[in-house]
Every structure is written in C-alpha cells, then in structure tokens.
C-alpha cells in the first residue's frame, strides 16, 4: 500500500510496473529469509513424519524388510475388534459427559431424560472399555498396552498436583509478600536444572538405603524404610495390603517416586506463570468485591479462579502433553528392580527401537502415541475449554 503513495508522480504505466517489481522483490526476500529455517525444519521435522508412517508399514529391524501394511499396528493393539470396542467405549464416556452437561443446563423432564441417557451411555462405556481392553491384552503386545495406563497414572499423578500447588504458592506470593522475588527464584531452580542431573540426584534421594533422604523423612514419622525406585509393588498393596491386579492396583511405588520428581520439577515453572497471570487481573475488581463484603475465600473462588482459568487451561494442556512425551527423567530413574512398572509409552517406544532394534514396530508405536495425544488434546479442549472464562 505504501508503495503507491511513494511513486505517485510517475505515469500510470510506469507506476504499475514499479509496484509489480517491488512486489516480486518483496516476495523473493520473504522466501529467501525463511529458506534456512524451512530447509532444516523440512528435513528434520516434516520429512520424518512421512517417513515414519512409511517405516511403520514395514518389518524393519535395523534394515528394511517386507511390507506388512498395518501389521505393526496389529502387533501392538492385538485385535482390531478389541481396539474398536475400546475406542467406542471411550467415545461413549465422552458423549455421556456431553449429554449429562446439556442435561444440567435444561429443565425438568428434558433434563431427566438426558441424565438417564447419560447414565445409560456411562454403563455402555463401562462395559465396552474393559471388554475391548481385555481382547487387546490377550493378543496384543502387553509391553506397549501396559505402558498406556502407566503413562496415564504418571499424568494424573503429576498434573493436578503440580497445578494445585503452583496456584496456591502463586496466590500466597501475590499477597504483597516480602522477598517475593527471592522465593520465586528458589521455586524456579528445579525447572532450569538439567533433567538428567536432577534425576541422578533423585536416584540417590529415593534409593532403598536406610540413609536415603526419602527414608530419613519417613523415619521421622516412624514409618519403616521403603524401596522407592526399586519397588515394583503397586501402591494399593503397600498402603492397604490389598492385592489387586491390572489397572485398579494403581501405580507402583517406583512410579510414584518419579511422580514426586515430576511435581518437584514443574511446580516452580507453573508458579511463575500463575504469578504473571495474577498480575494481569485488574485490582479494582477485588476492591469492588471487598466493598460488597466478600471474604478472602469468596474473592478467590469468584474472581481469581475464573479470571485465571485461561492460564490454568493453558498450563494443564501443556503439562498433560508434556507428561505423555516425558522421557529423560523416567529413563534415568528407571532401575531393573522396578520390573517395567515405570515404563511409560515414550520409554517403551525407545526400548523397542534402541534395545530391541525393531525400527518399524517402534515407529508404529510412536504414531499410535501421537494419535492418543491428539485425541486427548481435543477432548481436553472440549471438556475444559468451555469452562474457560476469557475476561
């Protein structure tokens, strides 16, 4: 646009030519400027995605073998009908939630019908999920399939806890605390510490020795020493002595130790971001509410929480995706005695690739993980995204 104003005195024909030339030059400059990064990102970012899909359809152990179509995927999931039943079950769960929600919004009879429908969908989901899962487990790859609930435990163990702790700390720090910056600096340290180094330190803190920090801490409360990272038994057995099998047994103590590490690392990061979010809430809102006689809890519940919800949502999304991709610290903190109870999906994929040298099969597992992450992100967007309040 500015080009026209610059070349006003020139004849119409000349002007048009000039605009053209500037335009072409501008275009070329643009492509020239983005070319270095696009070259790198194409080679190491876009191309590998396509190549991974290609690889996943071959029997590929170090060197390329026969084309087997979806064989690798079948090997991981076991049974298509089982997998389909499981996915349908999950979808029903999601629909049950949606129907229940709209039931809550509407009135009397319609509401009752919708709630009943939701309950029905929930029952159907409750049947389909274990049915599909068991079918998959009998013929699929138990290493890969088991890594999924382990990843889920890890995600559910870290994300809500780290968000809640961070929000609490940020809220306290925001109350005109002396030395706010010093506290913030300390809280942030774990996040910037190299993960491998920190995980090496946590291996020593959660070691089964009586003198390890975790066991010293337990001894203050008179609790006997635990094996921590070396403990493959599930939490339900350690805490209550109940022997359960499968999903409902819960995570192993080894995984819980790694969850502690995850929380330790990310609370500070979340605190810093929550603090910035709190700073952007206009102060007069609080003053107005205080004049109306709202108590501290009331202010937090009805002003801070809703106005902070975009930040919370963003952090939850990032943290959730992060836990599904998490690799480094789990790999470093893993010991053979944990008997694979800490092998999340990323760790399992790495083992399939690096230890077992099944390149094609490992890429198919990675693509399945990617699909799961995408689906979870979409669901999270739908379920929590609606609750976000944008000023």
């Amino acid at each position: 646009m500015t080009a026209t104003s610059l070349s006003q005195p020139q004849s119409e024909k000349h002007r048009r030519k000039r605009i053209r030339w500037i335009d072409v030059k501008e275009q070329l400059t643009g492509y020239l400027f983005i070319s270095p990064s696009f070259l790198i990102i194409t080679i190491f970012g876009f191309f590998p995605i396509g190549y991974a899909i290609y690889m996943s359809t071959f029997r590929w152990r170090v060197v390329k073998g026969d084309f087997i179509g979806l064989g690798n995927y079948e090997k991981a999931l076991g049974d298509w009908i089982g997998a389909l039943t499981f996915v349908i079950g999950m979808a029903l769960l999601f629909f049950a939630y949606l129907v229940w929600n709209s039931g809550m919004k509407s009135h009397s009879t319609r509401s009752m019908v919708l709630k009943l429908l939701a309950a029905f969908l929930l029952i159907a989901a409750g049947l389909a999920i274990p049915l599909g899962w068991n079918r998959m487990m009998t013929s699929g790859d138990p290493r890969f399939l088991n890594s999924l609930p382990i990843t889920l435990f890890y995600a559910l163990g870290t994300v809500p806890a780290e968000l809640a702790l961070a929000m609490g700390l940020a809220y306290i720090l925001f109350q005109k605390i002396r030395g706010q910056e010093t506290f913030r600096m300390f809280y942030f340290l774990p996040y910037i510490t190299p993960v491998v180094a920190a995980a090496v330190v946590f291996r020593s803190i959660f070691s089964p020795r009586d003198s390890s920090l975790a066991n010293v801490f337990l001894s203050w409360f008179g609790i006997p020493a635990q094996k921590w990272l070396f403990e493959a038994r599930p939490m339900t057995e350690i805490l209550f002595g109940i022997k359960l099998e499968g999903f409902f047994a819960g995570p192993s103590l080894a995984l819980v130790s790694i969850i502690f590490f995850g929380i330790w690392t990310y609370v500070g990061y979340n605190t810093v971001i929550f603090l910035a979010g709190l700073g952007s809430i206009p102060g007069d809102l609080y003053e107005a509410a205080e004049i109306d006689g709202g108590g501290k809890w009331h202010l937090f519940r009805h002003i801070t929480l809703p106005l902070l919800s975009p930040v919370t949502f963003y952090l939850a999304l990032i943290a959730f995706i992060g836990t599904f991709k998490a690799f480094n610290h789990i790999y470093v903190m893993r010991v053979p005695s944990a008997l694979g109870t800490v092998n999340t999906a990323s760790v399992t994929i790495f083992d399939t690739f690096y230890k077992a040298n099944q390149f094609g099969y490992a890429t198919s597992q990675a693509i399945l993980l990617f699909i799961i992450i995408l689906a979870l992100t979409l669901v999270q967007n739908k379920v929590f995204g609606e609750k976000v309040f944008y000023g």
Binding site: I40, F44, F46, V200, S204, S211, V272
Partner: protein, 298 residues
C-alpha cells in the same frame, strides 16, 4: 478528583494499619508455607552438594554433612570420568546451536512478521504444527538420516560428529514464533523512514529492528542454551563414542560406570548444573519474565 480521593482513602486505610513487625498469625502461616516450599525446592541441591563432598564411606553410612569436605572428588570426576572432555563438547555444541538458531529464526521471524509473500499464513500454520509432533515419532527417521541410510550425506555417516548434534536444532518453530510476535509490533513508520533512506529489509532488520529487540533475542538464546545443554535423548542416540559426547550423556554413562561411587556421581552432577545456574543468576529477570510472558501468550 474521584481518583485522588480514592487513593487518599487507600493511604489512610494503610496508615491505620501501619506495617510493623508485629506478627500476624495469618501471615505467619503464609510465610511458613512459602519457606517450606523453598526448602523442598532446594533440598535436592543441598543433598547433591553435600554428597559430592563426602568420602565413599560417608555416602553409605551418611549424615547430613561430610566430616571433612572432599574437594578432590571434583578433580577426580573432572579428569578420570572425562568430564573435562564432555564439558568442552557441550560448550561447543551449545554455542554452535545458539549461533545457528539465532541466524535462522531472526530471519524467519522477521519475514513472517514484516514481509508480505505468497502462502505466508499457510507456511506459518505448518510451522506451528511441528510443535505438536512428539520427538518419539521423528527420532527414528532422523537417526537413519544421520547414519546416512536415507540420503547420501557429506562424509557418509554423521554418527559421532558435531553436525549430528547441532544441525537438526538450528531451527525451530518456537523461536521463530517468539521473534515474529515482537517484529510484527514494530511501527510501520520506522520501516517507511528506513526505506526513504534507501534501506532494504536486510539493512532495516540489522540496523533498526535488532537493536530494539534485545529482550526477545535474549529469551530465544536462553531457551536455546537450556535446550541444547540439557539435551539427552538425541545425543544418546548419535554419540556411540566419547568424541563428541555431551555432558548429559557423559553423566548417564557415568551412572553405570561409577556404580556405588555416589560421591563422584554427585560431583559430576554439580559440574553439569553450574553453567546453567550461572546463566540463570546472570539473566534472572529476563529469564523468568521471558518464560512467564511466553507462557501467557501461549
């Protein structure tokens, strides 16, 4: 006037509760919670440093602090466990990556922010989409590529070379996005004035835009430093020998080699952490603010 009276009111309210050191029990609890949080945050660091100064016997039958600090643990880790070599490797890898990344992302960030070209929005959306792809998907094809299995590479295979550790990381969507957000806000008047003086995009970028973009450039550098220094999975794959092995992989190989020598291991961990801590304390304000604002903008 209303404003003034309101602030006056606030001041008088404050004055009626002058800030003294009289301890208010509610606030005391808040401080106790904060201090407890800080202790939990730094306790592992204390544990690491104290263990790194112990004798082997002390690490097994341990107390909180070593009887006599064993500083020679550090020299032992530095020389015997080849940490000196790994350290130099990590420094070189990090600097090459930062230099490359800054060059590519400043140019691209500028192009996406300030130049009109065909297909810009589509390309930008594609770029942002790469941030969603998990490393485990791209890792295996990239490994084959670095080995020279897919395309012929100069020098046959890049395993155990510097390019394998740097080239894949000298461009990323995040840095481009960050810089674009800044460049797009530079007023058009500046560009018009520069063009009157006969400057092209490149000169405008170097002479006008960069000097006022210190904050976002520093943020990109900090993120690149952390990412490169802390990288583990990829270097683990492409360094089968010690030639270009970076610190993190060196520390991990030491975990299996050192066995029960926790004190040396902790000394190694301290060595790997120190450069990051120095960077953090030097650029603390920019560091936390950069992260907070990038986090908020999403």
């Amino acid at each position: 006037m209303a404003d003034v009276s309101q602030t006056m009111e606030k001041v008088s309210v404050k004055e009626s509760h002058p800030f003294t050191f009289k301890i208010n029990s509610g606030r005391l609890i808040l401080y106790l919670i904060l201090i407890l949080g800080a202790i939990v945050a730094i306790l592992p660091f204390f544990w690491m440093v104290s263990t790194s100064l112990m004798t082997l016997g002390e690490t097994i039958n341990r107390q909180w602090l070593p009887e006599v600090p064993q500083f020679e643990n550090y020299s032992e880790a530095w020389t015997e466990a080849k940490f000196a070599k790994y350290f130099v490797n990590s420094v070189i890898i990090t600097f090459v990556t930062i230099a490359g990344l800054l060059t590519t992302s400043i140019l691209s960030g500028y192009a996406f922010g300030r130049i009109k070209f065909f297909g810009k929005n589509v390309l930008f959306a594609l770029l942002l989409a790469t941030m969603m792809i998990p490393e485990s998907v791209t890792m295996i094809p990239n490994f084959l590529m670095i080995r020279g299995d897919i395309l012929p590479l100069p020098g046959d295979s890049w395993l155990n070379t510097l390019p394998a550790l740097t080239v894949p990381f000298i461009a990323n969507a995040f840095s481009i996005f960050l810089l674009r957000q800044f460049f797009i806000k530079i007023p058009d008047e500046l560009w018009d004035a520069a063009r009157m003086d006969g400057a092209g995009h490149f000169r405008f970028l170097i002479q006008i835009c960069l000097p006022i973009s210190k904050a976002p450039v520093l943020t990109v550098m900090i993120f690149a430093f952390i990412g490169s220094w802390n990288a583990f999975l990829w270097p683990l794959l492409v360094t089968t020998r010690a030639v270009w092995r970076p610190l993190m992989v060196g520390l991990w190989t030491f975990v299996s080699e050192a066995g029960p020598e926790t004190n040396l291991l902790m000394a190694g961990a301290v060595i790997t952490i120190i450069p990051i801590l120095i960077l953090y304390f030097l650029t603390q304000k920019q560091f936390t603010e950069g992260i907070a604002t990038t986090g908020l903008k999403g």
